[in-house]
Amino acid sequence: MSELSPSPARTLLSDQAMIQMEGIHKWYGAFHVLKDINLTVRKGERIVVCGPSGSGKSTTIRCINRLEEYQRGRIVVDGQELSNDVKQIERIRREVGMVFQHFNLFPHLTVLENCVLAPIWVRKLPRKQAEDIAMQYLERVKIPEQAGKYPGQLSGGQQQRVAIARSLCMNPKIMLFDEPTSALDPEMIKEVLDTMVALAEDGMTMICVTHEMGFAKTVAHRVIFMDGGEIIEQNPPEEFFTNPQSDRTKLFLSQILHH
């Protein structure tokens, strides 16, 4: 497991709820993928979601910005309820950044163009200002010198850091990470996790689907374990790792920690 920078202080959280998921059910045809998901994420809270593949982790966080539809339940993001109204969905997506397993950078645009696209076309910022902000974030993810390159010219780790910077340029209130390090070579995982730890230190509200248990231990306020489309268990990391409650959690932990 990668060595990580010292853990960000787990400060006292405010009571303000950033995300509320209430009774979310989702079916793919007849297949019941999400079964009654209830989750409240407070402002500044950092949550790690883990579980075996096919357990509904990614689907759950993809519901929050409506990349996935759900058939029952309600989701409120920063006081705004998700509805079928396209404008409302776009309004919420502006406040929710997302980082994907396969980066999904736009290959026909340079790194800088990737970063300024949404601020210019969605936030209507002047190009100059958008570029200043983008450079600021590219510096934070430590690759300002790559601004003029195309994504295809960068390593996987660099691409993922660009993807993080691209999301941050929209100045989101929440960041969702969907297995951000799963597609990376081992030597690149650390640089991406370090970027995420730095983000955590700034008090960003984060939900992260990952199998990086080191990251969960140092950064998360809460670890959620999912299996079969249900939240099986959720606890602070020290409790979660030392004293797992359910048999499925124990089995999962033994599999990923002792391989």
Partner: protein, 369 residues
């Protein structure tokens, strides 16, 4: 025992793999079969080229004003082309008004030139391009048709030759591409009504031959229109060609759309971009770049298909050449006429093909994924 090799300077490759000899060996005589084919090809060239060159150049007649001039030499009679050249270019456009055609073409060349200069910023290119697209057709139509601003009217039935070919091809291309893109997007739409409409449209137009379309537009359409309505023949041809090629274009573009990973639209959506911005800024630039060869293929097909308008009695380049070969004063020179037409078509199509290759190379930013 460890052994350390001192690195030495690289030596020459074997002499039979480099230079002219190496090239011949690799490309022409790499196996007995290839050697035999090379010799056969050389023999064919030897027997076909000299007579062709003799016909086209050595024994050809270049000047003269009637068929008598060509009677003696036995080679090609290029005088036939020279005498009819203006007709091939302008059709029956009145001679004293042909400057209007030249002005229209020159205006387009100068107006569009900055689009092909690399140092011009993209922003200006986009504005100029859109401006041209909006204003130029109106301007060209006014100039060519006349009937106002002191210009005598020239009916579209007098348009002909290369002018008519270029008008049909130009209008067809500029209209079919955007229409094809919209149809392709519509076919992939989540909205069932739009999807059905686009699928029906595409499958209808793809299912009928262009000749049928043109026939129907001239024979059947008048049956449905109120008596006395005069529906310009050229306009009917333009609409027919455009809708027909738009259907093909739609399928080419759809191929490109399908090649773009779902992650691209998801990333755009997650950033808060709406449907049109996602398509316009993220998906289409990548998809269209991927299918440049297919698009150009369709455009070239469109260019050549314009010759089918002879079916409805329009005198495009092909038809006017054909018409000249039946001129009693110039009987017997159809070969020269068709060779000339073929060369003109080839020049335009080859030009498009080369430009598309250049474009592909310039837009290449893919590297590895």
């Amino acid at each position: 025992m460890a052994e350390i090799r001192v690195s030495r300077p690289g030596s020459q490759p074997p002499s039979n793999t480099v230079g002219t000899f190496g090239w011949l060996r690799r490309n022409l005589f790499s196996s007995p079969l290839n050697a035999a084919l090379t010799i056969l090809a050389l023999y064919l060239l030897y027997s076909a080229l000299p007579p062709l060159l003799r016909w086209a150049f050595l024994d050809a007649t270049w000047s003269g004003d009637d068929r008598e001039a060509c009677a003696t030499n036995g080679g090609a009679c290029w005088a036939f082309i020279r005498v009819h050249f203006d007709q091939f270019m302008y059709g029956f456009y009145p001679s004293d008004q042909r400057w209007r055609v030249n002005a229209t073409v020159l205006l387009l060349i100068f107006g569009a030139a900055p689009l092909f200069v690399r140092t011009v910023p993209n922003k200006i290119k986009i504005r100029l391009g859109l401006g041209l697209l909006a204003i130029y057709p109106i301007f060209a139509f006014a100039l060519l048709t006349g009937g106002a601003i002191g210009l005598p009217a020239v009916d579209t039935s007098q348009w002909g030759g290369l002018l008519l070919t270029l008008v049909i091809a130009g209008v067809g291309m500029t209209a079919a591409l955007p229409l094809g893109v919209l149809l392709a997007l519509g076919r992939r739409s989540q909205m069932p009504a739009i999807q059905t409409l686009c699928v029906t449209f595409i499958e209808f137009w793809r299912g009928v031959p262009l000749i049928t379309v043109l026939f129907m537009s001239s024979v059947m359409l008048p049956l449905f229109l109120p008596a006395g309505t005069n529906f310009d023949k050229l306009l009917r041809a333009l609409i027919g060609v455009t809708l027909f090629q738009a259907a093909y274009m739609a399928e080419v573009v759809r191929g490109g759309l399908q090649a773009i990973p779902k992650g691209q639209t998801e990333a755009a959506a997650a950033l808060g971009l709406g449907y049109w911005k996602t398509m316009g800024l993220i998906v289409l630039p990548q998809a269209l770049k991927l299918v440049i060869p297919g698009i150009v293929n369709t455009l070239i097909a469109l260019f050549k298909d314009t010759s089918l308008v002879l079916i409805i009695g329009l005198f495009d380049l092909m038809n006017i050449v054909h018409n000249a070969t039946t001129n009693p004063e110039w009987l017997g020179f159809s070969t020269e006429g068709y060779v000339f037409a073929a060369i003109v078509y080839w020049l335009f199509c080859f030009g498009m093909s080369r430009y598309s290759q250049h474009l592909e190379k310039r837009l290449h930013t893919g590297h590895k994924r």
